[in-house]
Amino acid sequence: MDKNLNALSDEELIAELQQTGNERAFEILVQRYKNPLTNYVFRFLGDFDACMDVVQETMIKFYRYKDNYSNVAKFSTWIYTIAGNLARTEYRRRKRRSFLSINDYGEDHKVFDIPDESYRPDVMTDSGIKDELIQKALLKVKEDFRKVVILRDIEGMSYEEIAEITGLNEGTVKSRINRGRAKLQELLKDIYKE
């Protein structure tokens, strides 16, 4: 039974979950998406604990609203949309909260370096420092540009999929990706000199 379910596509698994309420189908989908979503949300937020909360919330929402999914869109697009929306909400909430704190979040603002324990450098091995620099640079890129850059260059999605997730047309997606990349390159120019 399990072997059969593992062989099913995402769309077939969610159909199984909708029709029979088979919890195993849900578990398999969680297993498939927990890491990609964690990576996407972490790159967007830059905070591991907050990222885990968002991914957990995404899975809960997926389970709660499983019947709302229709086979028109890909399952990956649907779950990335949920995660993206939750991550954006969390990012804005944190930004509002940090407005009064000493660490000013976001793009073009001066960032005071406070040790970020949530980054978990021990997990990052040798390239830890470089990764940290890139992550900090990513957080300085505008929210809209950052999201599409992560989806395209880190998650490796197609322009079409990104357009579906973000609800933008492909032209806007491409334009935003280029602007995000330009900003990121400018921020990371020292790394390339090395």
Partner: protein
């Protein structure tokens, strides 16, 4: 588009080389725990909702309404209401004391003069009566005094009422009612007393005797 990809080739490579951040091993366990907690909370909510559904609240609301109605009935029937026999009567200053039926036909100018004269007469009468009453009361014992005073006051009232009743209403034309009347003579508060008295048989006999005496006294007065 391909040019753009080439332009940022290094950056794209750098981003792709970023280490994958993975979910912790207890991710599924945490998720299950949260889902179960949510299910439990939902069940609790549903139970509370079910408990407060209108159909279930009907008997309790009915009971509450019945209790309120009962309370209101008991509170309105309580003995707290004022006894009308113990309330001091209002002074009716609009009531006129008319001793003679000819007064009704009198013109307004004369009425004011007449009223002055009547006033004086009444005051003199009162003084006279007051003196007589004092003398009379001095003779009685304390208990008897109280009864006698009340009876006398009651008699004064009846005489006053009789005086007004003595005017035959059939003889008064309709336009006479619309005429302005003198309001100088009003019933005074001291002349009214509606308090209930339950005299004993002995007291009743005394009252009757007194009544007879007063009637004889009045007849004599009229003859004079």
């Amino acid at each position: 588009m391909i040019d753009d990809e080439k332009k940022y080739d290094d950056l794209i490579k750098t981003l792709k080389s970023l280490q994958q951040v993975k979910a912790p091993p207890n991710f599924e366990a945490d998720l299950k725990r949260r889902l179960n907690a949510e299910k439990y909370a939902k069940e609790e909510k549903r139970t509370i909702k079910r408990f407060f559904t209108p159909s279930r609240l009907v008997p309790s609301f009915g009971l509450a309404a019945a209790v309120v109605v009962m309370f209101l009935m008991v509170s309105t029937n309580s003995e707290e209401a004022d006894n009308p026999f113990l309330i001091e009567p209002k002074i009716r200053e609009d009531i006129i004391l008319i001793s003679d039926k000819d007064d009704l036909n009198m013109p307004i100018d004369n009425l004011s003069k007449e009223s002055e004269v009547i006033k004086e007469k009444v005051i003199a009468d009162k003084k006279d009566k007051g003196v007589r009453r004092e003398n009379f009361l001095e003779e009685k014992s304390s208990d008897e005094n109280l009864v006698a005073r009340r009876n006398e006051l009651a008699l004064t009232e009846t005489t006053m009422i009789r005086e007004t009743e003595s005017v035959p209403t059939e003889n008064i034309s309709s336009d006479e009612f619309t005429r302005p009347v003198a309001t100088g003579l009003a019933i005074e508060k001291s002349g009214l007393n509606f308090r209930q008295v339950n005299p004993t048989q002995k007291e009743q006999e005394e009252i009757l005797e007194l009544k007879k005496k007063v009637q004889i006294f009045k007849k004599n007065e009229k003859l004079e």
